[in-house]
């Protein structure tokens, strides 16, 4: 059985930066209050008509270029998103076409904010089982078209950004994916949910009444979610490091991903990391649910912050409620 290795990562964020000043007029809240409530200073939003598969294509092209590979090298796409291009088929199918891949499998998975780590774990299993020698794992989101741009959205809208990250997971002798842990606890999933369209609503999955009540927007109980996220992220660092047989000192960088970047940073600190070994994607991107971790990883690798042989611990927590961790050796 072969080991799985990280061949390359890539990222794509839209060029348009949306500041808190810009949101201020739309949401009827001052920029300082937006920063205070969300912990986010700025985010990127797409131009209308750009979907997660478009951002995913750019991130994948970036990763392929860094790996020196063409799209024909890819054996399987695993695409994680909570904001797909259309309801179905999945964004992975669109990506297969846009990237010019062979007629390979395009697996579309949903695990929200932890989605990329679920996709990465799946990619790892395919490679280790010998069923693929190059898997493209993608996390991509276009949240901006799902946000309420009126004062009613003031507590939710500033938190989210658009973007995509990609990782090529290949086969090798020396393990690169050292450990993964995945969890879901549905007990309080209404702390971060979006009820409609809802196939369980009889007789029709969405009616004007639901639209008028804004039930197609994210509803987030941030205080309760924060209280659950912080200790869970800290514990997940310990859990995944234990599975990898490594201590905090052996890790060069911790990428901590959660809706509120301040909570993510506190959780990583509590796990034992000093600030200069913590990266929180949301601080510069806003919350890009499935995209935050691979974008941050691609940026850290691209800037030379982490090099060949570096060990990276990634943890994510979010809707589902699902959370996950991974330890990588680059």
């Amino acid at each position: 059985m072969s080991a799985s290795v990280v061949l390359a990562c890539g990222a794509a964020v839209p060029t348009r930066t949306v500041t808190n000043e810009e949101l201020s007029a739309m949401l009827d809240v001052g920029p300082a209050a937006i920063a205070e409530r969300s912990g986010v200073a700025r985010r990127h939003w797409v131009a209308t008509g750009t979907g997660p598969s478009d951002l995913g294509r750019d991130a994948a092209a970036d990763a392929l270029a860094r790996a020196g590979l063409g799209p024909e090298a890819i054996d399987l796409i695993v695409f994680a998103t909570m904001t797909p291009d259309i309801a179905f088929p999945g964004s992975g199918c669109f990506l297969q076409d846009k990237l010019g891949c062979r007629e390979i499998g395009a697996l579309d998975v949903r695990a929200q904010c932890a989605g990329f780590l679920f996709a990465l774990a799946t990619a790892d299993r395919f490679v280790r089982a010998g069923a693929a020698s190059c898997v493209l794992a993608i996390g991509a989101e276009v949240h901006s078209t799902a946000l309420e741009r009126t004062p009613r959205g003031a507590n939710v809208t500033p938190r989210f950004g658009d973007g995509a990250g990609a990782m090529l997971v290949g086969a090798g002798a020396d393990a690169g994916v050292l450990a993964t842990v995945l969890h879901t606890d549905p007990t309080d999933f209404e702390r971060f949910w979006c009820e409609f369209p809802s196939s369980r609503h009889f007789p029709a999955r969405m009616e004007m009444e639901h639209f008028e009540r804004g039930l197609h927007y994210y509803v987030i109980d941030a205080p309760a979610l924060d209280r659950q996220a912080e200790p869970t992220l800290t514990a997940t660092v310990a859990e995944v490091l234990a599975k990898a047989g490594l201590g905090v000192d052996a890790i060069d960088l911790c990428i901590a991903h959660y809706l509120d970047p301040r909570v993510a940073r506190r959780a990583a600190r509590a796990a034992g990391f000093p600030d200069d070994r913590i990266v929180v994607p949301g601080e510069s991107l806003g919350h890009v649910a499935a995209g935050g971790i691979p974008i941050a990883l691609a940026e850290a690798m691209g800037s030379g912050r982490v090099g060949k042989g570096a060990r990276v611990c990634c943890v994510a927590f979010g809707a589902g409620i699902s959370w996950a961790g991974a330890v990588l050796k680059l």
């Binding site: 309801a87 007629e103 697996l107 999933f189 009820e195 369980r200 009889f202």
Partner: protein
């Protein structure tokens, strides 16, 4: 270690909708529907019931059948194209029904090929020792997303609601269990069979014109002839791929279960493969197309009919929206 199916369960809503029932909602006839699809009746929900609600009893039956406790599951995969909510994925309400806290769960959104995509994922988790017991469940509540008037008849008559689940575990005999799986996609045809809304491509992703009403973008759109043409090509391709990978031929097969999309497609595929009709199992006449649930729902009934004996070589194959297509070969 190979993976094998330890248990199967299924559940469909009580309400049966016959072709004659449909002719009171839209201009259609029993003859027209049967001739084109082979469907006689389907089950549709009659109250607030999503895929997770339908899945829960199917999962309980599959767990009982497997002799596995819910708490012993290491991974839960749910396939649907008609999720309970927009966020989170439907595996979350399913876990709540099952009283599970902490087990990893994700949705797989691969439409008609969803069950086989999940089977392939489950197989890899078991082969790598990352999971010992995996639940794979396909579940759909299509009926709340169908145009049940004459303008939607080409699509509405096809789909049924239902759920079916399998529990997978380890198979110590390398010649038994899931022998091979094959997954494919061709996204250039993604819009030949789709539901557009909600769509990240529109600002905003849900607009009033997308809502239920004539031409709603919440309802599926299908270019049926296109799908048919590709299906009859891809089915034999992916079945032969599985046979070649394992060194078997069509003559070695004891049972073939195609995704239940259209009886005419299945019959053409079997004829093209020169597979004797008695080696193929279909139950679309009773359920319509239940998408992610259709293969395990058929497998359940094929086993009950005595067609899945110990040692049987079983081929499963699917084609559908994406386009995606897939196959699996199992030695029971």
């Amino acid at each position: 270690m190979n993976a094998r199916i330890l248990g199967i369960g299924r559940h469909v809503p009580e309400r049966v909708v016959t072709n004659d029932d449909l002719s009171s909602l839209m201009e259609t006839t029993d003859d027209w529907i049967q001739q084109r699809t082979g469907i006689k009746e389907r089950h549709w929900v009659a109250s607030d019931q999503g895929p997770a609600d339908l899945a829960a009893p199917a999962v309980r039956e599959a767990l009982d059948d497997a002799g596995v406790k819910a708490e012993d599951l290491d991974l839960v995969l749910l396939g649907t194209l008609s999720p309970d909510y927009d966020v989170p994925s439907s595996c979350s309400p399913l876990l709540r029904h099952l009283g599970l806290r902490g087990v990893p769960a994700m949705d797989v959104r691969n439409q008609c090929s969803g069950f086989l995509y999940m089977l392939s994922v489950a197989d890899k988790f078991i082969r790598t020792g990352e999971a010992r017991r995996v639940l794979v469940v396909g579940a759909e509540t299509h009926s709340t997303g169908l145009d049940q008037t004459t303008s939607g008849r080409e699509v509405a008559v096809i789909f049924g609601d239902g759920a079916a689940a399998v529990v997978l575990g380890e198979e110590p005999d390398p010649k038994k269990g899931i022998l091979t799986t094959h997954l494919h996609s061709e996204g250039k045809y993604a819009k030949k069979l789709m539901v557009e809304a909600p769509t990240a491509l529109c600002d905003s992703r849900v607009t009033p014109d997308m809502l239920s009403g004539p031409g709603s973008r919440l309802w599926p759109r299908m270019e049926g002839r296109y799908v048919f043409k590709h299906a009859v090509t891809r089915f034999p391709e992916v079945i032969n791929e599985a046979l070649e990978a394992t060194g078997y031929t069509v003559a070695d097969l004891d049972l073939f279960i195609p995704h239940q999309a259209n009886l005419r497609i299945a019959q053409l595929v079997a004829m093209g493969l020169e597979l004797p009709p008695e080696k193929m199992f279909n139950n679309i006449e009773k359920y319509g197309n239940t998408t992610a649930a259709s293969i395990p729902l058929a497998l359940y009934e094929a086993r009950a009919a005595g067609l899945v004996r110990d040692g049987a070589l079983v081929c499963l194959a699917a084609f559908g929206a994406g386009f995606t297509w897939a196959s699996a070969l199992i030695r029971w």
